[in-house]
């Protein structure tokens, strides 16, 4: 498919996402065939790579599949009774859906499958990228923002695991096996990155700290929740404490803003939403560890609510990044979903009107943002898939990043 090589092909851009995905899938083979000679020609210098999907697809694209997965989780939480609670505890939105069980589960299944497809696709592409453009992946690993997004695929897998449409107790064995498969890379990345924070001089925390570092914390917390959902309390507490200890350090460092904010390009401002994604996920994790939405979870939830309000009051902060659509905009979606998830659990515990209203508002907001982003992505597929990401480019000379 020659057309894939040529940017700005209007007919291509018009197709909806799914079709594009299949086109991509079909287009990959000739694509990488074409790339192979390129790759052999330009083995060492990175600059001369022919731009293609594989060179452009950096780990930040996993924001998309993470958003899909977290929306599936939100849908599951809103429409199905919580796993640990008694069956008499109705799901928050249960009474809103007039139709009976099958419809709910079918819609949830459909959504989950969609998320799964997106994740599988992205993972496949990224694996190919690792195979054929390993230098680019290495460049990502050494970049202070890119390295944090290496957690993103594993977080998406874990969230997919959490949002599986069936009850977890029925699929315990495969669930555990998969949990191990996804949690181990997270821990390995932790060891590497957190160790660098205080040992490697070029990568001291005070130099590399930026809001995307919170993704590593979120990874630990999601792993913790996934573990406690299946009953493994010790691993859950272990990952939780790991995440929270580093969250404390990061929280203070990011608030201090020692280096004056020049660590993050203005176009990446959407990642500021991660500020409230981390405490929301911490609240969810602690909720599943301790069994009830106790004071600790409430405090974390309130903190994330406050940070969200604080960011929502500052639209000027995001103005610069909202000029042109780029894949960083997907960073708006999953933090909102995490916040909505935490508010759903809060509303389940504190059965008041304010809490339910809050949950509805946040869930609606997260869903709307998700839909909006989907729409924008569909309309701008050429920009995402065929143009280089203006912010994180790893196929250029590393010094430019």
């Amino acid at each position: 498919m020659e057309s894939l090589q040529i940017p700005h092909q209007p007919p291509m851009a018009m197709r909806p996402v799914l079709v594009d995905a299949s086109q991509l899938a079909s287009g990959v083979q000739p694509h990488h065939c074409r790339n192979r000679p390129n790759h052999q020609q330009t083995a060492s210098p990175i600059r001369q790579l022919k731009p293609s999907i594989l060179t452009r697809l950096h780990a930040g694209y996993f924001r998309i599949s993470l958003s899909f997965a977290s929306q599936a989780l939100l849908l599951k939480m809103l429409t199905q009774p919580a796993a640990g609670n008694s069956s008499s505890n109705p799901p928050p939105l249960g009474h809103f859906l007039r139709s009976d069980g099958p419809f709910r589960s079918i819609s949830l299944l459909f959504f989950w499958l969609l998320a799964l497809v997106a994740q599988v696709l992205l993972s496949a592409l990224y694996t190919l990228r690792c195979c054929f453009h390993f230098q680019l992946v290495k460049a990502e690993f050494f970049h202070h923002v890119g390295v944090n997004y290496l957690f993103a695929p594993w977080i998406s897998w874990l969230v997919l695991l959490l949002s599986v449409p069936t009850a977890i107790s029925e699929i315990k064995a495969p669930y555990l096996a998969l949990w191990w498969a996804f949690a181990i890379p997270v821990v390995l990345l932790d060891v590497k990155i957190y160790g660098q924070w205080f040992t490697t001089e070029k990568r001291f925390l005070s130099m590399v700290a930026n809001p995307t570092s919170l993704i590593s914390v979120i990874g630990n917390l999601v792993g913790s929740r996934a573990a406690s959902r299946v009953g493994w309390k010790e691993s859950a507490v272990c990952l939780f404490s790991l995440g929270m200890a580093h969250y404390l350090v990061l929280f203070v460092t990011l608030y201090q803003r020692l280096s004056g904010g020049d660590r993050l390009p203005a176009m990446l401002r959407p990642v500021f939403f991660l500020f409230f994604a981390a405490p929301s996920m911490a609240s969810l994790a602690w909720n599943s560890i301790s069994g009830t939405f106790d004071t600790g979870s409430k405090m974390l939830f309130f903190l994330s609510l406050f940070l969200f309000a604080s960011l929502a009051c500052r639209p000027a902060l995001f103005k610069k990044s909202m000029r042109k659509f780029n894949v960083a905009w997907w960073a708006y979606s999953f933090p909102l979903t995490f916040l909505a998830l935490a508010s759903a659990e809060y509303a389940q515990e504190v059965k008041g009107t304010m809490a339910s209203v809050l949950m509805l508002v946040l869930s609606a907001l997260s869903f709307l943002v998700f839909l909006g982003l989907m729409l924008l992505t569909v309309l701008n597929t050429h920009r995402i898939l065929r143009e280089d990401d203006p912010i994180l480019r790893f196929d250029k000379d590393r010094s430019r990043n």
Binding site: L248, F251, V252, L254, Y255, Q256, R257, L258, G260, G261, F272, F275, T295, K298, M299, L300, F302, L303, L305, F306, A309, S310, L311, C313, R314, L317, V350
Partner: protein
């Protein structure tokens, strides 16, 4: 000489004769006169004091001149600045031509200089001078004085005819957002209220400013100090562990009434300041230390609600809590957001012990809410307060080199360290229902900080008294109250004697502070000195700002640099005039001609 788009819409306030008078004065080599009115134009007239310094003759003649913003202005006799050296301005009056060196445009200095001598020298013009001087504060008034004029017009008071009412050009809005760097550059001291030697202020220093301008927001500290005392005496009277003291509730009632009156008075005065001198309030908001005191009124109201005597009421309506916490919530959103995302006001740059005031509000609100019986709201504010307190605590303990506002020596402001943990311990105890481990941990931290400061009381000497010191007493009172609550839980001789000791210390401190305040108020009469901290200029006097229109003139050369060093009130313009006069260096943007114009 053409003005270069003189951006200063100078208020045409000065009465006619004044300029000439001033010129006469200046011709004597008196340091620049200030004829400025409103700083709205940022360049308040005056000038160069260099004359007084006896530097070279050129300087002597330097007289403050301001470029006329328009020919019309030049003609108007009351153009404040007046005096154009080369201008055959009639209005300039007599002394001018003599005093100015030939053909050299006097620079327009834009800073009002303090005029120590001048004020005394205008007796015949006194009423006018008086009126003129009133105008000098216009830049700090709301809408640059228009509100006052409206009000006095409404009252039918005859206004001195000033052409500016009708014909003045609209004053340029004063720089709205004074960058925080200016405050750090211009001020020093643990409360950032002392002017550095090289800086100058835009309001006259020699005369006493209007009372409202001198009334800082840190006056709310008195309310904090007294209302926390009321709470302490209430706790002493109603706790079982201190029953042996037989403290009556009368003390609480009396103190509460006094604090109620005080809060009302201070609120009223500050409200008047907001109405009449909004620009001054804005500048206080931009001050990195004073901004924290904007939480003080609401904390004082929270204290009042907590200390309400049982005889008045024992149950407060929940709505009151929401009403009191709303302003705190909004302020927090703003301030903490600035810490997180503000470029120049980020925490590593502005962290100082007064930031505790912005954190304590959360804990006080949580305590009050939990006392009232609310459940979720107190936890919300406790969580937010705890998270940000952690950040602040770590930052202050780090004593980052980028942080200039921590005083090197001990100052009463350090007592604010004790405030947050002690109130947090009480709030957590109320939320949880009992003084459990979390509260005890916080309480012991507070106690440790208290003692580590108390044993260093010798190092708290040598600081100028200011009203903000009242704000530093409430942590001591808070620690005393926390001790009383702790002794309720763990009742033994040690805790009881500790509560007595701490309460006595707090009371004595407040009493001593009261005596000092009265002394300063009535004997020394300097309880409300001129509030220098809000009157700093927007630009460094010595720096070269190329964006200033007049700037091409200034071009500090080496020979003027030593002159600069001698001059206390030197303005760059003034020096540069000399510099340009002497060396006639090409300006950075090559626009020399206007100087000569």
């Amino acid at each position: 000489m053409e003005n270069h788009g003189n951006s200063d819409p100078i208020k045409q306030d000065s009465p006619e004769g004044l300029p000439s008078l001033i010129q006469v004065i200046s011709s004597n080599g008196v340091s620049g006169f200030d004829s400025i009115e409103g700083r709205s134009d940022q360049f308040l007239g005056p000038s160069v004091q260099e004359t007084a310094r006896g530097s070279n003759s050129k300087l002597v003649h330097a007289v403050s001149i301001s470029m006329p913003s328009s020919p019309r202005e030049a003609d108007t006799p009351n153009a404040k600045r007046v005096l154009f050296a080369n201008n055959d301005e009639p209005a300039s009056g007599d002394g001018n031509p003599d005093s100015t060196p030939s053909g050299h445009p006097k620079r327009t200095t834009f800073y009002s200089q303090p005029m120590p001598r001048r004020s005394g020298e205008n007796p015949p013009r006194h009423p006018r001078v008086h009126a003129l001087k009133d105008k000098r504060f216009d830049s700090f008034k709301t809408w640059s004085g228009k509100l006052e004029r409206q009000l006095s017009n409404l009252r039918g008071k005859p206004r001195p005819t000033s052409p500016e009412d009708g014909s003045s050009t609209t004053p340029t809005a004063p720089e709205r957002n004074l960058p925080v760097d200016r405050f750090f550059d211009a001020l020093e001291g643990p409360e950032l209220d002392t002017l550095r030697a090289s800086e100058e202020i835009v309001l006259p220093d020699d005369k006493q400013w209007p009372f409202l301008l001198r009334f800082p927001i840190s006056s709310f500290g008195i309310c904090l100090g007294v209302s926390s005392q009321a709470i302490m005496w209430k706790a002493l009277a109603t706790s079982e562990s201190t029953n042996f003291l037989h403290v009556s509730t009368i003390i609480n009632t009396v103190l509460w009434s006094i604090s109620l009156a005080l809060v009302a008075i201070v609120f009223l005065i500050y409200l008047l300041k907001v109405i009449f001198y909004f620009e001054a309030v804005r500048r206080e908001y931009y001050h990195p230390i004073r901004v924290n005191f904007f939480f003080a009124p609401w904390i004082a109201l929270l204290f009042l609600s907590m200390g309400v005597p049982p005889s008045v009421t024992s149950k407060l309506h929940h709505a009151l809590w929401y009403v009191l916490m709303a302003p705190i919530f909004c302020l927090e959103l703003k301030i903490y957001g600035q810490w997180m995302s503000g470029g120049q006001r980020r925490l590593s740059k502005v962290a100082n012990p007064s930031n505790h005031l912005s954190i304590v509000g959360n804990f006080v609100g949580a305590l009050l809410g939990a006392t009232m019986g609310l459940k979720e709201g107190p936890i919300f504010f406790f969580a937010v307060g705890l998270a940000h307190y952690t950040v602040l605590f770590v930052t202050l303990y780090q004593r980052l080199p980028t942080n200039e506002t921590l005083p090197k020596e001990l100052h009463p402001v350090f007592f604010l360290f004790v405030a947050a943990p002690s109130v947090a311990s009480m709030a957590w105890a109320k939320i949880q229902g009992s003084f459990d481990y979390g509260s005890r941990i916080a309480y012991f931290i507070a106690l440790f900080l208290y003692f580590s400061l108390a044993v260093r009381v010798n190092f708290f000497r040598g600081f100028r008294f200011s009203l903000a010191w009242w704000a530093y007493t409430f942590p001591m009172t808070g620690a005393a109250i926390a001790t009383v609550r702790y002794s309720n839980e763990v009742t033994n001789v040690v805790t009881q004697s500790l509560s007595v000791a701490l309460s006595a210390t707090a009371t004595l401190t407040v009493f001593a502070l009261l005596v000092t305040t009265i002394l300063h108020a009535f004997v020394l009469r300097d309880l409300f000195p001129n509030d220098i901290a809000i009157a700093i200029s927007e630009r460094r006097p010595k720096s070269h700002h190329s964006h200033r229109k007049w700037f091409h003139l200034r071009h500090g050369s080496s020979d003027t640099r030593d002159i600069e060093n001698y001059l206390k009130f030197a303005t760059s313009e003034g020096k540069d005039i000399e510099a340009s006069n002497s060396v006639d260096a090409p300006s950075p943007d090559g626009n020399n001609p206007n100087v000569q114009a």
